[in-house]
């Protein structure tokens, strides 16, 4: 079906800035996110990730231009909230609420909530309709959250550290459910997390943010093409250093170097000739780009 929405991008930010007093949390950033993407927003604590998400959701005032689903979060928040879901801190569910009351509540306030879908999802968990939030483990609270959020037919899902504090089984289950029951090519997910490794194959795009600025924004395909990690043998060391790697670490006495073929004067072929080449993991790329000398 053709989407009749006139906007080309799910999110379109131009010179987005957010100041808290004298400090600048988000510093004049611009980016666009089309539909059907899963975007990872990665940055250290205090880099402006959450502030950027809050601006998208109309939770904080900001300067610059920002359209989410074609709407201005500052003035059209009510309309926007019908099409956007959000999971942030799992503690926002009141401790006294029961599973069935939470479902009743969302069914009452959200026009796009599919009650049957939420109940179906809950049946596959250990949650019971009469259970109160205060009786649940952290993992169960997230499952309740997920059941409520996935049953809303929202075009945009914003996840701010959704799996923080969860054990590995729940974390895996979380993303599995999202891919199985929520995501499709008409939907868009934006996720921030410190657990980069567990989402790196799910993402279609990556944005690194540091001190309020975007330091890298690219699709995973572009990243795989642009960044190359090479295990350099001792006799190629001088030649490798001449190609200006952006990062270097030692593994079993060999140098593993990371090259950015877009900025250094090294072609992909020259880099690959140095030794065994492979695509870097997001975590290594993140560490290298956050080190300061390179941005």
């Amino acid at each position: 079906m053709v989407d009749t929405n006139l906007t080309d991008f799910i999110i379109d930010a131009k010179n987005l800035t957010k100041r808290y007093g004298k400090s600048v949390a988000v510093d004049n950033i611009s980016f666009q996110i089309p539909a059907g993407r899963i975007v990872g927003l990665i940055g250290p604590n205090g880099s402006g990730k959450t502030t950027t998400l809050k601006a998208m959701l109309g939770l904080v005032p900001f300067e610059g231009e920002l359209k989410v689903l074609g709407l201005d979060p500052r003035t059209q928040r009510d309309e926007l909230m019908k099409q956007v879901s959000f999971i942030a801190d799992v503690a926002v569910l009141p401790r006294w609420i029961r599973v069935r009351e939470a479902i009743d509540f969302v069914a009452g306030v959200h026009p796009k909530f599919d009650r049957a879908k939420a109940e179906r999802y809950i049946q596959n968990t250990k949650l019971k309709p009469a259970m109160k939030v205060k009786e649940m483990s952290k993992g169960m609270i997230v499952q309740l959250h997920l059941a409520l959020v996935m049953a809303i037919d929202a075009k945009l899902l914003v996840l701010d550290e959704p799996t923080l504090g969860l054990d590995i089984l729940y974390r895996k289950q979380f993303y599995q459910n999202l891919l199985e029951d929520y995501f499709d090519e008409n939907k868009t997910i934006i996720v921030t997390t410190h657990q980069v490794e567990e989402i790196e194959h799910i993402l279609s795009d990556l944005m690194f943010i540091r001190e309020g600025k975007i330091t890298l924004s690219a699709s995973m395909d572009e990243i795989a093409e642009r960044f190359i990690e090479v295990m350099v043998s001792a006799d190629n060391l001088a030649a490798a250093l001449a190609l200006k790697p952006i990062d270097e670490r030692q593994v079993f006495g060999k140098s593993v170097m990371l090259f950015d073929t877009a900025t250094s004067n090294s072609s992909a072929d020259a880099v690959k000739a140095l030794g065994e080449a492979r695509a870097p993991g997001i975590a290594d790329l993140f560490v290298a780009t956050m080190r300061g000398t390179y941005a």
Partner: protein, 123 residues
């Protein structure tokens, strides 16, 4: 389901290679349905685009076909195509290396036939 991907090859290629392997091993047979893109994406925690790309390449090579509204199926000719390409690969890549080794060892065709026959007798 669990998958260990390595970083030397794009994941869609690795996924494609797995499906091909399943076909060669007979775990998938002509006419069998492949799991949906959504299912694979969820089980292996991959972006659906990655899965679609693997399926698209398999379809381009006519190893699978899309049936409207039903999903992807292994084609009737897939086994033969795979066997063909495996034969070609053997003749182009493995055989020259074997020949070279035979040459270095000074073995000729009758030595090999004789060895094969005794092998059969002993086996």
């Amino acid at each position: 389901m669990n998958a260990d991907w390595h970083d030397n090859t794009p994941i869609y290629r690795q996924l494609k290679a797995r499906v091909v392997e399943m076909m060669l091993d007979g775990l998938l047979k002509p006419g069998d349905a492949l799991p949906s893109v959504r299912q694979i994406a969820a089980d292996f925690q991959l972006n659906p685009i990655t899965v679609s790309r693997a399926y698209q390449e398999l379809a381009d090579e006519q190893l699978v076909e899309k049936k409207r509204g039903l999903g992807m199926y292994m084609t009737d000719g897939a086994s033969e195509k795979l066997l063909d390409s495996e034969r070609t690969r053997f003749l182009n890549e493995e055989w020259p290396a074997v020949l070279e080794r035979l040459d270095r060892l000074g073995l000729n065709a009758s030595d090999l036939l004789l060895a094969a026959e005794t092998g059969v007798k002993n086996g």
